[in-house]
Symmetry: none
Subunit: 310 residues, 2 copies
Amino acid sequence: MQKTDYQLIIIGGGPAGLTAGLYAARARLKALLIEKGAAGGQVLTTDWVDNYPGFIEGISGFDLVGKFAAHADRFDLETRNGEIVSLDLADPVKTVHLESGESLTTQSVILCTGASPGKLGIPGEQEFSGRGVSYCATCDAPFYRNQEIAVVGGGNTAIEEALHLTKFADKVTIIHRRDELRATRIIQEKAFANDRINFVLDTTVQEIQGGTKGVEQLLLKHTDGSSSTLEVSGIFILIGVVPNNSILPKGELELDEWGFIRTDTEMATNLPGVFAAGDIRSKNARQIINAAGEGATAELSAEQFLSNLK
Amino acid sequence: MQKTDYQLIIIGGGPAGLTAGLYAARARLKALLIEKGAAGGQVLTTDWVDNYPGFIEGISGFDLVGKFAAHADRFDLETRNGEIVSLDLADPVKTVHLESGESLTTQSVILCTGASPGKLGIPGEQEFSGRGVSYCATCDAPFYRNQEIAVVGGGNTAIEEALHLTKFADKVTIIHRRDELRATRIIQEKAFANDRINFVLDTTVQEIQGGTKGVEQLLLKHTDGSSSTLEVSGIFILIGVVPNNSILPKGELELDEWGFIRTDTEMATNLPGVFAAGDIRSKNARQIINAAGEGATAELSAEQFLSNLK
């Protein structure tokens, strides 16, 4: 085996990457975690995490990810901040090219670059994020008990999550820019049959408005040119997630049609020595707990791969 | 859709089952978790958990699983204690048959029955079980204060437990059939540095011998063909796990060659509406964090399955 700078490089410092890092550090691998910004990934934008098992009363996303980072640090995981410009992953010696001009070589890689919520890009969206603007119904639904809320989107996730939200909210208005939903018929039928769900089709949200307590109303524009307002205390923007895949070698690495990385059940990609975990994977459920679990699985697969190298 | 008692029944109350239960309760499914004994699974027999992300300084297995159970309970997960005798999983309406004679119907099932310690299957093992033969260092270590004992195995669990046993026993001999340990490097290093631990590699135990007071000595066979005896008053057999699959419908459900349940990356088994998570799955890495992650993934897959039912 050719000499490399590292045995394992983990790319991304969200729950998947930090868990892989915790495991790698405990295994005494020569491992490095590279994160371009603050450690944490999408969790940082999650106001309150109520469903990470073990934190019975919930914990803020900020605090949870701080604990993940401190936990990996306790075992002396080497980390660095840096922007990656490209990756060579097909050969036995894999190379990570940094914006600084430096290149690092490694025998194995775990890709944990994550995903980002599709955004509307409208006024108020950023301002009220975490204060009425949410991108995750599973995470935040219970906060809207007996309230009136909106869901933006027309796909399976949006409609399923709208149905889910009716268990909590009194009234859920689904806002969709087209004249019909994209969701599977049976899911649509359930939504049509649910008297807590209203539909406002042919409509886009122009602006999210509110005050110190959070979201208060939405400015809507209809395709006939007219405008209106809708009073809600929450808006769930469920127009899909986009993979953070800009640095991935798309010709080499097998992706699904939306650009997420395909893996097997052990988190192996199509390239030997290259694994993926967390939201960048092609999968249905994007949760903190399964991102972390996949990070552990990926690291143990990487250890097994390394132990089989000459 | 035919009427059933539940939308989802979760079988097993370890980290996978309790996480699935936490998610199901938050999703307001009509869900039930059935556990035959105390909630917790194998975690209950784990002295100290240092790698469940978020608990920076580690936590006892007992306390961690207590938090999992309390977390699910906070969202009012319905649970019951009961021994299951058989399962009908092939039809749209699935049936759980309890020892009490009662049968419960459900639209979907998540199997989290876990795994149990592997046995050597040698003379004396059964005879001296509980009288010097143990499969759980956490449970039995205090009985061996100031005595000489053996640990069989070379993986993480075996070496970690051997380290734990040195807090009680004067001398711990690790017996492993190969010429090197399989455990993670950091754990190996700790064992090598501990002067109460001896290593006997390339060696198997042929027989466990003793008298009315319990275990007295082991007959060992070395790979060079020679034999020897080792005087000990206890032997901890820590050689891996076997699936808890006795209640599974083996003709219907696809298992791997060792009897673990095969799933896809979304935790779906070959049977529609039947999912699996945790140590009962066919997989390489059996960790608390990935069991929990799989529990969440399985529950969200079950939700999606249910939402597509007529």
